[in-house]
């Protein structure tokens, strides 16, 4: 691979969305809409083309050579140089170095590809919005931030991208700033992201301060490839980050996961994601389905050399991921907001990905990320069509019967649902079964993980088909639903393209439960993440595959029985299991718990400061200074008699006294 062409192409991929953002933002809304409609999606699709060319170049290389680092921008370099400019001693440097390898390319493909489709869709969805130019400026900024995050080979720029993503998501969630709820949701997301940033930054500090090279010397580097090359066991006693499974590397792993959990909406930092549905629907599709929330998965896959040294941290990651997956799936079953159901399903699916990368099945986790990006963006955009048709109504109880009037949207939504539910031959089936297979591969001692994963799948297929039946079948619940009309072509094309992807991308990797006739995807990622160590026996795997698939279909069947045929009344279940129903409906009370534990004490403290500290301390000091100065001025005023001769007298007396003192000093 020619480094110069890689440099140029990655500069194009990163530069185009940046330029789009700058032009859009600096023109302050003065660009005509037609220009913005071309510019906004155009720059992202341009970046996609550059990424595809990079992919072709990369695939032309032997697998071992698929990974190249180029420096885009020399920002800070403290290397010692000799007179001729040659580097005599490499010092600390924080440059914008870009790593092009299968993992980053996969992320870039999804970010620019799915992101580009969502940009095209937004042209239709946001057409009526007064903030049209602002919207595309923010969207391009988001793409830029995300690309910085995944392309950077330097911890410094990874953190910069990480924080920029948080900011871009904040402005996009709070895009409709006239709505107080949207602003609150944006703020909540941003605060949660900052908690995660703290974890990530602390983790990188620990790496920077403690990483030792093969000779036992501290490296003090932020270069990712150097870090990963040195983190493993070596000849020296004080190698890498201490012994395998040691306290330091475990703490680092957990701190990095705090960052990942905030981005990926994993418990206990998950509450922002459902609220983030206040943003426009394309934002939900771009940020809260395809890209940003998977940054945590990417982070752990990228830092897998560290997690391989820290099995305990990996276990924490896997447990949190699985726990979040179950919790979100349970919540998803009772929500009525169409976007919130999809949001909880995102949380749940990302929990599965986090679980996979936690147990070391990086390829399975990333494959799930890849298929999920396609079918989840599809679900969001199809839901966006519905919401658009119903004039911003998101409640599925007020829909009904839409399949007759929105044929294309209905079919694509069902394709997305089938993929999400893990129904055979759709994308989700391949990735999820591969992922569960990884859970089973941990050994016969922990089949529980597989059982829990299957339960998540069953719940998933239940709740997503619950939406399909309530929203699209039956009779229209409102006049608005009865008069709904299909979306314009600019919104349908991206949805149809995504539906096509959601149907076929699964075939990229048929590698689960003992069958592996086609493993393009895991072969592609292998140079970066290697192969999972454990494999379960073929017989058990085949049985598990069959059971999992049948159970997923069972979840679909239950949804059909409850909401399609209405042979089981949902009210009956909620009356029989009131605690479970309430737990699910109230989202496990996390918002209430955080309110009682954090928000209310914080507000009480603030009120105390306002009522006690403010009047007594701050006002007291300020009033004291004021009355002191004014009292002194009152006393001094009597000296100003207005008699010039008096002033002269005082002046001379003082001068004489000063001379006397000076005389004594000199003597």
């Amino acid at each position: 691979m020619n480094p110069n062409s890689t440099l140029a192409l990655s500069a194009v991929a990163l530069g185009l969305p940046t330029a789009g953002f700058l032009v859009n933002a600096l023109s302050a809304g003065r660009l005509p809409r037609r220009v913005v409609s071309l510019l906004g999606p155009g720059v992202v699709l341009g970046a996609f083309v550059a990424t595809v060319v990079l992919l072709v170049q990369l695939l032309g290389q032997p697998p071992a050579a698929r990974g190249i680092t180029v420096t885009l921008w020399q920002w800070l370099d403290l290397s010692v140089r000799s007179g001729s400019g040659a580097v005599a001693k490499t010092g600390f440097n924080a440059n914008l170095t870009v790593r092009i390898d299968p993992l980053s390319l996969l992320m870039m493909l999804v970010i620019t590809g799915v992101g580009g489709l969502i940009h095209v869709y937004s042209v239709g969805y946001m057409a009526e919005d007064p903030g049209y130019n602002r919207f595309f400026a923010y969207m391009n900024l988001f793409i830029t931030s995300m690309l910085v995050l995944v392309m950077s080979d330097s911890l410094v720029f990874l953190i910069i991208g990480w924080a920029m993503v948080a900011f871009a998501s904040y402005v996009l969630i709070a895009f409709w700033y006239q709505r107080p709820s949207a602003v609150a949701a944006g703020r909540k997301a941003f605060i949660t992201q900052v908690i995660g940033d703290v974890g990530l930054v602390l983790g990188t500090f620990l790496i920077f301060l403690n990483l030792r090279g093969g000779d036992g010397q501290l490296l003090h580097t932020v270069d990712l490839q150097t870090i990963f090359a040195n983190v493993g066991p070596g000849p020296h006693l004080h190698n890498g980050l201490g012994p395998m499974g040691g306290g330091l590397v475990t703490v680092i792993g957990i701190l990095l996961f705090v960052g990942a959990a905030a981005k990926s909406a994993q418990w206990p930092l998950h509450t922002w994601l459902p609220d983030a549905m206040e943003g426009p629907t394309p934002v939900s599709a771009l940020i809260h389905a395809a890209t940003m929330v998977t940054a945590g998965v990417y982070l752990i896959a990228r830092f897998h050399p560290i997690y391989q040294q820290a099995p305990v941290a990996g276990g924490v990651v896997a447990a949190v991921g699985m726990g979040t997956a179950v919790m979100a799936a349970v919540i998803g079953c009772t929500q009525f907001d169409i976007k919130r159901v999809i949001a909880y399903s995102t949380m749940s699916q990302i929990g599965l990905m986090i679980f996979a990368v936690g147990v070391g099945a990086y390829s399975a986790g990333m494959f799930q990320f890849f298929t999920h990006a396609c079918f989840k963006a599809l679900l969001f955009l199809a839901a966006g069509n519905v919401i658009h048709a119903l004039h911003d109504d998101q409640d599925i109880r007020e829909m009904g019967g839409l399949s007759a009037r929105m044929r294309v949207t209905f079919i694509t939504f069902v394709v997305g649902s089938l993929a999400l539910a893990g129904i055979p031959l759709f994308a989700g089936w391949f990735s999820k079964e591969e992922l569960l297979s990884a859970g089973l591969a941990l050994g016969p001692a922990v089949p529980w993980l597989w059982v829990i994963g299957v339960c998540v799948n069953v719940l998933t297929s239940f709740y997503i088909f619950r939406v399909v039946w309530i929203a699209f079948r039956g009779q229209p619940a409102t006049p608005r639903a009865a008069s709904a009309h299909e979306a314009p072509a600019v919104m349908l094309v991206p949805v149809v393209v995504l539906a096509g992807l959601a149907s076929v991308v699964g075939f990229l990797n048929i590698d689960f439960f003992g069958f592996h006739p086609l493993t393009l995807f895991s072969d592609f990622l292998r140079p970066v993440v290697g192969v999972p160590a454990a494999q379960a026996g073929d017989g058990i795997q085949a049985l598990a595959l069959l059971a999992g698939t049948v159970l997923s279909l069972g979840g679909l069947g239950v949804a059909w029985a409850v909401y399609g045929r209405k042979v089981i009344s949902p009210e009956l279940v909620s009356r029989r299991l009131p605690w479970l129903y309430q737990l699910s409906l109230q989202k496990f009370y996390w918002d209430e718990i955080y309110g009682a534990a954090l928000a209310r004490p914080g507000l009480a403290l603030a009120a105390r400061v306002r009522d006690v500290t403010e009047p007594r301390v701050f006002d007291g000091v300020i009033d004291g200074v004021r009355s002191g100065v004014s009292g002194l001025a009152d006393d001094l005023r009597s000296l100003q008699t207005g008699f010039l001769r008096e002033y002269a007298l005082v002046f001379f007396i003082c001068a004489v006294l000063g001379l006397i003192v000076l005389g004594f000093r000199l003597a």
Binding site: R637, S638, Q640, T641, G642, F643, L644, R645, A648, L649, F652
Partner: protein, 101 residues
């Protein structure tokens, strides 16, 4: 010559004292102004005396500068006094007390 030094210094001090007393006791602004000039010239006398005594030029140069400054001061001061007089307030310094308290 050296025996006269105390005499010159005493004369200088006396002139200065007369000037200072004039500033403090006289009420006519013009006289106050003249007293200030007197003090400046008393200072000049002392400077020149010391210059002769130490046989250096520094004091003489200093005196020249003081004369130049005094000339400028006269220009400004007389202009101010004329201005005050024209405003119809007379030249009694005790009457000029609008800015007390």
């Amino acid at each position: 010559m050296s025996g006269l030094f105390p005499g010159f210094l005493i004369l200088s001090a006396a002139l200065f004292a007369v000037g200072a007393l004039g500033v403090m006791v006289r009420r006519n602004l013009l006289v106050v102004f003249m007293s200030i000039e007197l003090m400046l010239n008393a200072g000049n006398l002392a400077l020149i005396t010391f210059a002769r005594y130490t046989d250096t030029m520094a004091g003489q140069v200093f005196a020249l500068i003081v004369i130049a400054v005094a000339a400028s001061e006269v220009v400004v001061g007389l202009a101010l006094i004329t201005g005050v007089y024209r405003s119809g307030r007379g030249l009694d310094v005790d009457e000029m007390s609008e800015m007390r308290e």
